[in-house]
Symmetry: C2
Amino acid sequence: MGVKLTDVAKKAGVSATTVSRVINNYGYLSQKTIDKVHKAMEELNYQPNSMARSLQGKSTQLIGLIFPTVSHPFFGELVSKMETKLFEKGYKTILCDSANNKEKERDYLKMLAANKVDGIIAGAHNLGIPEYENVELPIISFDRHLAERIPIVSSDSYQGGRLATEHLYQRGGRRIAILTGTNESDSPTNQRLEGYLSVVKEHQLEPMVYHFPLEHSPFLKATEIRQILSKEGIDSVFCTDDLTAILVINTARELGLEIPGNLKVIGYDGTEFVQNYHPQLSTVLQPIDQFVDLLIDLLMKRINNPDIELDNLYQLPVKFVQGQTS
Amino acid sequence: MGVKLTDVAKKAGVSATTVSRVINNYGYLSQKTIDKVHKAMEELNYQPNSMARSLQGKSTQLIGLIFPTVSHPFFGELVSKMETKLFEKGYKTILCDSANNKEKERDYLKMLAANKVDGIIAGAHNLGIPEYENVELPIISFDRHLAERIPIVSSDSYQGGRLATEHLYQRGGRRIAILTGTNESDSPTNQRLEGYLSVVKEHQLEPMVYHFPLEHSPFLKATEIRQILSKEGIDSVFCTDDLTAILVINTARELGLEIPGNLKVIGYDGTEFVQNYHPQLSTVLQPIDQFVDLLIDLLMKRINNPDIELDNLYQLPVKFVQGQTS
DNA sequence: AACAATATGTCAAACGAATAACATAGAAGA
DNA sequence: TCTTCTATGTTATTCGTTTGACATATTGTT
């Protein structure tokens, strides 16, 4: 069906081996032949068959990205930037939206192995997938413990939790609540909670912890937030993600609460999206660009040398961003 | 390196052909053998090498998705849903963030051909890429004319423009501005503008058209919006996307303008994100789920029968969503 | 018992490209 | 002129899987 190497050879009037030599740049070649072959390739719009190449032993230049969903601005930005950087390096991206579905994530792992990807960057939120232990592919994890020997890139969530909470305290907050995800011991969200608790304890405040399961729809979350805000005498809220913070702000407005007068709100993530479209929100900024650089650099190292020793954990610093909601 | 078919054969105590027969389900097979082989495959954690399979003639089950960027909520949701649906159908997704970069889009097209994808869904915003004319792969386009014979799935942008503008008029708007993208004759954004112009003309209002190049950063856009809102005596703004509408609302708030009292605002897109986190925004809802279903259904048709005749244009209806900003 | 249907095996040729081994020819240098 | 590069060609093998052709058992049916 498609144009193949032998067609190029015929067109250029050289042997198939010579074409292969040009493509893979080995052996002796005259500039004249190289030009002839390139011309023929262009004229025929020839693309070497990736399947055949990698079957022969060449790498596929494919990378699998396993993340919950690109419909979330945080992961959308992360994935978009990774894809861009990977493409610049000559890699193609297979997108795997794990959608908080264990089965799907397992299937993805199999699929990626079958497709002989060169490596995987995984930042899904499913726990308890023992398959990661057995994957011999280079893997780097974002923000999750997946298995022994798989390095984790994350930010200093504990410090982030402390930063946010301490800031609320300095601003006069004395009844500071935290809205966070489900209580999973090794999740970074939990580290944010730990940071919050440590500051609350230091100042001898009453901890007020509200867990929001990830599966809950924003609508359901908003309902719960409404109850929390109208019942309890809360003066500050630390949300462990920006989207929840936006819900809190919307709800507070509904309830006629002045921000930051009656209620101070801090989010977490600081995506470009939030900085552009919700610049008023105080938040803790995660260094997305640095995540991307580090994740890819580490993966490249593992790909080029599978046995290289890497640290277990790379923790990048976070930054508090002052808006007008606190 | 990896486990291969012959290893499975050895383990199961059958011939390689029999294993292949089990995998591809042809010829005569006893249940006993089938079970034996499956057991061996599981024990060895065997995955057929996709490269070898598709080299042999089997389809790759790969689909390329070319869109501007998943960091934008609209495309993030669209891509996320397509990926999910494709995975359910046994396809893997190669993500191509074209980033409004013609060169990159061209490269992607080559790359997807080299990787022998089964089909492409393209919704990038670059014009003038003649390469699309020559691609023999099944392609379906989202919202853009790419080439002859490539069906376009879109929504009724003209009607959407009319809906929004007419609504603003009914609400008392008499000086209605439109904030839209660059003036590209065959873009759907332009159809929204056409719809706006037709209503403005019907009511003999003065058209006020502001073009915002896509490349402009949100910050720059906000600056321009500030100028527009403070200078001209505008009482209503129709934005051809929701994010711009959010910028307008933010700016109006800054300027102390009451919404919808002093200024009415309508957006366009109505992503789940906006509906959840900006429920107050009046907007024109694009049917993302229907886009996804139709795009994929059409692509499957083309894949299963490359010569099937499809319409040039599939236009889905839009819906006005009343919020509190108009 | 004879014949068909079922179940498996052996063998070989693809798929498209990479590459090693070897041959050959011209050009350059001693 | 003889050697050594340099430049190309020929040929065959390999990658892992699919599949067709053909052979050979083992069943089941009448």
